[in-house]
């Protein structure tokens, strides 16, 4: 009898503490997470200006983008950017992580520490701006020393987008999350494969890749989501130029919302972007299911 009562008391205390611990977080989740999202739908169908009360305008804000060439340019740019970034830099961290495992333990340690020495991200972008400089930049300096013609890098409309992706290609490194997974694969699997006469590629193909496949799928989704929302790099390196060749959708949202104060239009564009990203993610999951054999 006493035990039962005690249990009940415990349960009550647990419940009380649960809410005590949870409430601050839930307040933040609701006020700064969900409330702006819901407000977003309200803003996207209204016209908000400083002087008048908000006015309901239906889907006008969404229709605006149907024949807005800036929107199509920006959309094409971010699709191209995401494609380029995934095509050029997605596999490299995986390859480096796999190869890194071949080194001796202490070499791995030293390399990892050197590799992950961080730079503030603004500093990382600014140094590339200086590398790309047409008159005094290091890249043109190298080209010049080699006797090659110099390039216009960020100011060449055909090259500009590639320039945004290039840092990721040149500064290759292992993906931390891949290393963690590869490390967890037992060595016996490789030894067994070896006894059966499997070569290097067969081991990668049949043992390593199937195990990092789910993580690759997640990373691919993150790469798409991140690529479609690119802002800082073009904003700082090219300011969307030359001739809007690197103008991204989020830059357009920023310009609409905070330069021309068209909050309704900006939010409508943000919602359109959200649905495009969602569609891409769904498409990606259809094409590349996380688990092939289960």
């Amino acid at each position: 009898m006493k035990a039962k009562k005690d249990k009940e008391r415990r349960f009550l205390q647990k419940k009380r503490v649960a809410w005590f611990f949870g409430i601050p977080g839930l307040i933040f989740v609701i006020i700064f997470g969900w409330y702006p999202l819901i407000t977003g739908f309200y803003v996207s169908v209204s016209e908000i200006s400083i002087f008048r009360p908000p006015e309901f305008v239906g889907l006008t804000n969404f229709k605006y983008f149907l024949d807005d060439y800036v929107f199509y340019t920006a959309l094409r740019n971010v699709l191209y950017y995401s494609f380029l970034r995934i095509a050029l830099t997605f596999l490299l961290p995986i390859l480096v992580a796999i190869l890194l495992m071949e080194m001796k333990k202490n070499v791995i340690r030293v390399m990892m520490i050197l590799w992950f020495i961080p730079v503030a991200s603004m500093a990382g972008i600014l140094i590339w701006r200086w590398f790309y400089d047409i008159d005094y930049g290091l890249l043109n300096g190298i080209l010049c020393t080699l006797g090659l013609p110099t390039l216009r890098w960020l100011e060449d409309p055909r090259l500009a987008m590639l320039c945004l992706v290039l840092p990721g290609l040149i500064m290759y490194g292992p993906g931390l999350i891949y290393i963690a997974t590869i490390q967890s694969i037992p060595d016996e699997l490789y030894e067994a494969a070896e006894l059966e006469g499997a070569g290097l590629w067969q081991k990668i193909w049949h043992i390593t890749l199937p195990r990092i496949r789910p993580i690759m799928a997640v990373m691919l989704i993150l790469a798409i989501i991140g690529g479609m929302q690119i802002f800082s790099q073009p904003y700082i390196l090219t300011e969307g130029g030359p001739a809007r060749a690197t103008y991204s959708v989020v830059m357009y949202i920023y310009d609409l919302g905070f330069q021309s104060y068209k909050y309704g239009l900006g939010t409508a564009l943000a919602i359109i972007l959200f649905f495009i990203i969602m569609a891409l993610v769904v498409l990606q999951r259809k094409l590349l299911p996380e688990n092939i054999d289960r």
């Binding site: 992950f116 730079v119 991200s121 603004m122 040149i170 963690a180 800082s232």
Partner: protein, 338 residues
């Protein structure tokens, strides 16, 4: 070790492959460190030398004048404070802003997120915890930029999205509302909960066996002391990882401070550096027009100043990396996304 067998390591072919791999990896390390070196060497070059072509990787006459910007700015510069682009205050002002924003974000986000994750993981009944989990994780589905304008509008007259503030029912008094634009709260509060860190915390707390907690409960420990005495010590690695992530994302954030803050005096480093480079790159070749940057140029500070500031901005991130290095390398296994 796993791919290339230990037994055949001395045959010529395998040795050759290993050398190629080693070179490839060290090359990657080198390419990562080189920009930092170049940043540093540019920062100690005299102004004229930064415009030498082709650029040098070394300097004959190093000068550390750039680093004096931390505590000092030219007299002309401080006269035009508040106007124009670039840096109008000594650099420690911006450094301090960055520390306030980052410190505030860490102080609120980490405990709030951890406690919520703990209670969702261990304390609620099954149905509640499922519901709250989805409520938190749903935010992860929506990219941050989608709600950037409504978030700004809410911050502008918190907690109402428009200027039309309703009256308190049955009275003529308007609801209280706060303008968080141009305050650090406007940056810190929206970052009070992080869905990604929530996921990390929950994954880690889920791994703590229930039996352990129940045994402590049977011994008469209160829920608070269970959290403090058992959960916290076990979860040290995940706290370290989250602390590092929170620090670097708060330190590096750029778009949101750019929107919320409009006073030069309040900018964090990232925004200051951006505006400084904006001025520099736009008036290259011609004399600058605004007095602040003219004064800087007269002192011999241009692109070398920008690079010096970049180095300074990176130092705190680097220190945090050193502090949490051990946990980042080993504790990263906890980062499983499921």
């Amino acid at each position: 070790m796993p791919l290339i067998p230990n037994v055949g390591r001395d045959t010529f072919k395998i040795k050759f492959i290993l050398i190629i791999i080693t070179l490839f990896l060290w090359m990657g390390v080198f390419l990562h460190l080189f920009p930092v070196w170049y940043m540093f060497i540019t920062s100690i070059k005299p102004y004229q030398e930064t415009f030498k072509f082709p650029p040098t990787l070394w300097t004959r006459e190093p000068t550390f004048i750039v680093y004096k910007l931390i505590y000092r700015i030219t007299e002309q510069g401080s006269n035009v404070a508040g106007g124009g682009y670039g840096i109008n205050y000594p650099f420690y002002v911006y450094l301090k802003n960055s520390f306030i924003i980052t410190g505030g974000t860490m102080a609120i986000q980490i405990p709030v997120t951890a406690l919520l994750a703990y209670s969702v993981s261990k304390l609620y009944t099954f149905r509640w915890s499922r519901f709250l989990f989805l409520l938190c994780i749903g935010l992860l589905m929506v990219p941050g930029t989608v709600s950037i304008i409504p978030r700004y509008l809410i911050i502008a007259h918190f907690p109402f999205p428009t200027r039309q503030i309703p009256n308190i029912p049955f009275t003529n008094i308007k609801f209280p509302n706060y303008k968080l634009i141009n305050t650090y709260w406007g940056i810190i509060l929206p970052a009070g909960f992080s869905a990604f860190n929530f996921l990390l915390f929950k994954g880690s707390f889920d791994a703590i066996p229930d039996e352990l907690l129940n045994a402590a409960r049977l011994d008469g420990a209160s829920e608070f002391s269970i959290f403090r005495r058992i959960v916290l010590p076990i979860s040290k690695p995940i706290f370290a990882v989250v602390a590092y992530f929170t620090f670097s994302s708060a330190w590096n954030q750029f778009l949101w401070p750019l929107i919320v803050l409009t006073k030069n005096k309040m900018y964090p480093l990232a925004v200051t550096l951006y505006r400084f480079q904006h001025t520099l790159m736009h008036q290259r070749g011609e004399m600058p027009t605004d007095p602040a940057s003219l004064a800087l140029l007269n002192q011999g500070i241009g692109i070398n100043g920008l690079m010096g500031m970049s180095i300074i901005e990176s130092i705190p991130v680097f220190i945090m990396f050193l502090i949490f290095r051990e946990y980042l390398m080993t504790g990263i296994k906890i980062r499983g996304l499921k």
